[in-house]
């Protein structure tokens, strides 16, 4: 057999083994990972609207959101928002009351630069929630804007704007649809 074919074959076999091992690991870990993500989501929902006793997942024109229920009363919505940050997408959950006033914001996942953009989830030592996200509380969702009523993180204006714009745009579209 000529050498080139032999080398190719060996490389091919190594790639094949690697693929098999990866596929197997993916299959084994996938249900666990989905479960972890679901738990994380539930924890975030409870933190955003603590007085709700159940969250119902609904879909409207392809947008997934939760209805926060207290007994049989609808006390708010939690929207799943995807923002486009400095280096990749971010998954955000924003809780609003029926009037569009923000109850709380939680960033579930992001790929921002460690030490700069990652400060969107930074919690100061003597506090319990991220200082950047806390600014959104109690503000009308369609009016939030960096420099206007939201302070940007020093050196991470793009990340700050990404969170703010994603929330404002998503909530704006959502409220128009829901009130239709």
């Amino acid at each position: 057999m000529n050498q080139m074919a032999k080398f190719g074959l060996i490389l091919g076999i190594i790639c094949l083994i690697a693929t098999l091992v990866l596929a197997l690991t993916y299959e084994v870990t996938r249900p666990k990972i989905i479960e972890q993500l679901r738990q994380e989501e539930q924890a975030a929902l409870k933190k955003i609207i603590p007085d709700a006793d159940s969250f119902e997942l609904k879909t409207l024109d392809g947008v997934e959101y939760f209805e926060a229920m207290k007994g049989s009363d609808l006390i708010g919505y939690c929207l799943k928002v995807t923002g486009s940050g400095y280096s990749g997408y971010m998954r955000i959950i924003v809780g609003i009351d029926p009037n569009g006033v923000i109850r709380g914001v939680s960033v579930l996942e992001h790929q921002e630069t460690p030490g700069l953009g990652s400060k969107i989830t930074e919690v100061r030592p003597d506090e319990t929630e991220p200082w950047f996200l806390k600014q959104f509380k109690g503000k009308s969702a369609k009016a939030v804007a960096v420099k206007k009523n939201i302070d940007a993180i020093t050196g991470a204006t793009i990340s700050s704007k990404a969170v703010t714009d994603a929330i404002r745009d998503a909530v704006d579209i959502f409220l128009k649809k829901v009130r239709k």
Partner: protein, 202 residues
């Protein structure tokens, strides 16, 4: 001179320190050394990957033909990193949240490929383990030193704890120029003293 397995471990700490002496893996070093917590996170994650990749590469070193070794190593390293990432996400979500963002940076870390090429492709697994541990810890302490300097000067904190509110920290120390200045100055200082010691020995 320390010899044997211990020698392979010790060399990574100082004499062949990946950051200060071999000057490998600078991209992740520049990106991550903005705070001490990040430095430790990256160091631990990289040590773990280095250990796994060194063992695997050393085990297959007799099967892999020399001409296609680099693609083979890259496949092995990328597979190992992804498996580690998946398991962390599934079984250690807390760890994954703090180390997860370093994973994509480790795949492109030249130290891992560098050790595969320069060491574990030629040496037995046990020696490779010691080499990986030494290099990993060497990388970690280098990151801690660099990030401590940058966090204190650029953010006024250490490990997130505020040191002084007396001055407005210069932001550029946390940005890329601060990293280049810090690493350059440290390598300069280290080289100066090593040369002095060498001159004395003569």
């Amino acid at each position: 001179m320390v010899r044997g397995n211990l020698g392979e471990f010790v060399k990574g700490l100082w004499k062949e320190n990946p950051t200060f002496r071999i000057v490998l893996g600078l991209c992740p070093t520049l990106a991550v050394s903005t705070s001490v917590a990040n430095g430790i996170g990256m160091g631990v994650a990289a040590t773990f990957v280095l250990l796994g990749s060194n063992i695997f590469v050393s085990l297959v070193r007799t099967i892999v033909p020399e001409k296609v070794r680099i693609p083979c190593y890259i496949v092995i390293i990328a597979t190992f990193v992804t498996i580690a990432d998946l398991f962390m996400k599934a079984y250690a979500p807390l760890l994954s949240r703090s180390l997860g963002m370093f994973v994509p940076l480790i795949v492109v870390n030249c130290i891992v490929l560098g050790r595969a090429e320069a060491f574990s492709s030629k040496e037995p697994p046990l020696k490779s383990i010691f080499d990986a541990l030494g290099m990993g810890i060497g990388f970690t302490w280098a990151l801690i030193v660099i990030s401590a300097i940058r966090e204190v000067t650029g953010n006024g904190t250490i490990m997130g704890i505020c040191i002084s509110r007396q001055f407005e920290p210069p932001l550029f120390m946390i940005l890329a120029p601060g990293a280049l200045l810090t690493i350059g100055a440290l390598i300069g200082v280290i080289n100066y003293f090593t040369l002095k010691v060498k001159a004395k020995a003569k």
